[in-house]
Amino acid sequence: MALAASGLLTACGGDGKTGSAGGSGGGNGLFRAAFSAGGSQETLDPHVAPNFVDQARAKALYDTLATYADDMSVRARLAESWESDTSGTRWRIRLRSAQFHDGRPVTAKDVLYSYRRAADPATGSPSQVLLSAIDFAASKDEGGRSVVFVLKAPNFEFPTVFAGPGTEIIPDGTKEFGEPIGSGPFTYVSFTPGGTARYRRWGDHWDAAPHLAELEIVPANDESARLNALLSGQVHYAADMAGASVERLKKEGSTRLLTAERATAQQMLLRTGREPFNDPRLVRAVQLGIDREALVRIALAGHGEAGDDLFGKGLRGYPDHLEPRERNVEKARRLVKDAGAEGLHLTVETSSVDAAWEPAAELMARQLKEIGLKLSANTRASSTYFSEIKTKGVAAFNTTSTLPVSDFLQQRVRGGAARNQTQYSSKKFDALLDRARTTRDEGDRLSLLVRAQKIARDESGLLVWAFSDANDAIGRSVRGLRAAPPNSHDWARFDRVHMA
């Protein structure tokens, strides 16, 4: 038994003996990365990418036109360059020379097909709303590697779409993803839904071939299973570590934590379109009534920092130098009294989706009691939580990982947007967003966004009470990976990995 066991450990240890099948030489070993995969649609269709594991798999097989840097600014990938006309409605994109895994060149036709498919609501791309701004009838393939997108309305922030999840470029006409072909750094070897996805390095990738010979993305929904697999050397990468696992990993010499600070915005959504939060005094009272430092200390176990009701600290377009939100019990209590809401009973929706929510709800209940509000928690099933809170309840917890600030504001705060869950609606805010979108100068655009955020911060009911860290962990022998926020390009970027 012991012999067989040590045999297994070596086999999984990435000792370089797995060889480099395919590609033109180079590469060391098999790299295994463990992700939580429960509840995902389990297809290699890159345009359906609800979970982090889908993103990691898509990143291996496919390319996008552009990608996000850590601060969510846009960096070129398949697109070599882009430029708009003076109105911001016509965007010409030039593609670099790249090939799909079957040797065909990546052309404008493929880009148009991919975007059209991802813009179709039936496909289910997370970027569908942004892509639907494109007028596909007017957009055109200028032959070969040049494509022109015509937008229904001017938008100088349009290039954020090129880096959006679910906008991967697939060969024209692709409908089946059983043996998927992309232009990404790895080629497809095998995949079973709910099981392991296996890839091989692709020597002809335009951005230099991966160092690894093979990559396996393996599912392990249980956090302790991912941790134990990493500690024992069965996997080289364990995604999404939290709480006790993080503490454990800090003490472990055989592994390294990759901590993306402030990657996750912890929010409480107050539905301003409904009683009682249609009274702005109560929204303000809750903002002033919660103790953010205490929430970070207790609900996040210190792994994070206090939020000030704005999304995207550290990202491009985040308004710095704003006064931090300080707790003011006196003022909050007065606001509650003025609103005639003393002793009002409120329910906040929570679930086990994020381990911080339930302790946060408990703590907030105690904090808000001091300002005269009674808060209790309603725990919902985790897999349907997000769809349920769209229509139910007056307050709910939510988390969002890094996204471009402008996209976040468009999708979650703008009046009438499908994902605007607080039902906030402000003509002034919307007008500022529209002006930002149609402003050509980047500096002016960002200052308009800052003005819009200052308004939304006070009124929208979207309270960012903290930013929490996102943690992944790697084995000591792994080189070439660094901490990066989920959704950014360098997160789970296995094409640059090599093993010492």
């Binding site: 429960g38 509840g39 649609q41 039936a122 289910g124 249980d222 299973a225 697999a229």
Partner: protein
């Protein structure tokens, strides 16, 4: 005997049907559906509605149940709503893992429980009995996932003797490296072994001091014969039914054990199917579990009937 089997089989069929209806009803009462789960936070209401229509979830509940049941009668449990693939594919893959886990665990329980139970029962109050009993009580008190984590920490990560998890391994990989299975099988075995051994111990002790045994001894039968002919068959007969319940318990315990060790078996599959609101899959699991429970109970009753034919078992 044949009438008994027939009656029990008919009952078993009805039981399965009741389970199916109940599971479907409960499944339909759960908040949200597959479309909600798949589109989750990102989906717009239009996207969710489009997917719901595409999956046929906008049909009435009873129509979907009838549709599923009708297809099942032709031997096809349909496609998973989550993956679009035949339900049988995923369950088949997972069943292999569960069998690799369950069969060795069952064999361990089947061999060790009578052995330990009989040794204890025949030496009531002795040091070995007290030791075994204490160990059984202690082991039984440790939840399965805790036991799993303790074993991983000590045996795998501490001593480096056995692999810690089975993350990323399918049936073939497990067969190639059976060492991976040692810890999960041990955890799965522990609780049921304790249960069954203690029950057999009590049975053996009771039978040994019972009036019948005393009578046989008075008739001059040798102690060995008393034990083999009378004490064991009666004690094990009662245990056969408990053993059958053990099989159901193993399926339940597998959920935790699979999670801790990263195994992709039926237990975790059922949990995922429920989380995904994937009713065709949930139904097929329910049918499989109910069918297994019914069959093993039937076998358990028949064995008990055979070992100790008593009238009241027929009820």
């Amino acid at each position: 005997m044949r009438a008994y089997v027939l009656r029990r089989s008919l009952l078993a069929f009805l039981q399965c049907l009741v389970v199916l209806v109940a599971v479907f009803a409960v499944g339909a009462l759960l908040p949200g559906d597959t479309a909600d789960v798949l589109r989750g936070e990102l989906g717009t209401p239009q996207q969710v509605a489009a997917l719901r229509h595409q999956l046929g979830l906008d049909e009435p509940v009873w129509a979907r149940f009838a549709h599923w049941l009708g297809a099942l009668l032709t031997g096809d449990p349909g496609n998973s709503l989550t993956t679009g693939l035949p339900v049988g594919d995923d369950i088949g893959r997972r069943a292999g893992v569960t069998l690799l886990l369950g069969v060795p665990a069952l064999v361990c329980v089947m061999v060790l429980a009578p052995l330990l139970g009989t040794v204890s029962g025949l030496r009531e109050g002795s040091r070995i009995d007290r030791t075994l009993n204490t160990a059984a009580v202690l082991l039984h008190a440790v939840p399965e996932f805790v036991l799993g984590l303790l074993l991983i920490a000590s045996v795998s990560l501490g001593a480096g003797l056995l692999p810690a998890t089975a993350v990323g391994m399918d049936t073939a990989a497990l067969l190639a490296q059976p060492a991976v299975l040692v810890l999960p099988v041990a955890v799965l075995t522990a609780r049921h072994l304790c249960d069954l051994a203690r029950q057999i111990r009590v049975g053996v002790a009771a039978q040994r001091h019972g009036a019948v045994a005393e009578h046989l001894r008075l008739l001059g039968m040798r102690e060995r014969t008393v034990v083999l002919r009378h004490v064991l068959p009666n004690a094990l007969g009662a245990a056969a039914q408990q053993f059958a319940r053990c099989v159901e318990g193993l399926l339940g315990g597998a959920v935790l054990v699979e999670a801790v060790f990263g195994l992709r078996g039926l237990g975790g599959g059922f949990v995922e199917a429920v989380q995904n609101r994937d009713l065709p899959q949930v139904q097929t699991y329910a049918l499989l579990f109910a069918g297994t429970a019914v069959v093993v109970n039937l076998v358990g009753d028949l064995v008990a009937h055979r070992l100790a034919p008593r009238r009241e078992l027929v009820a």
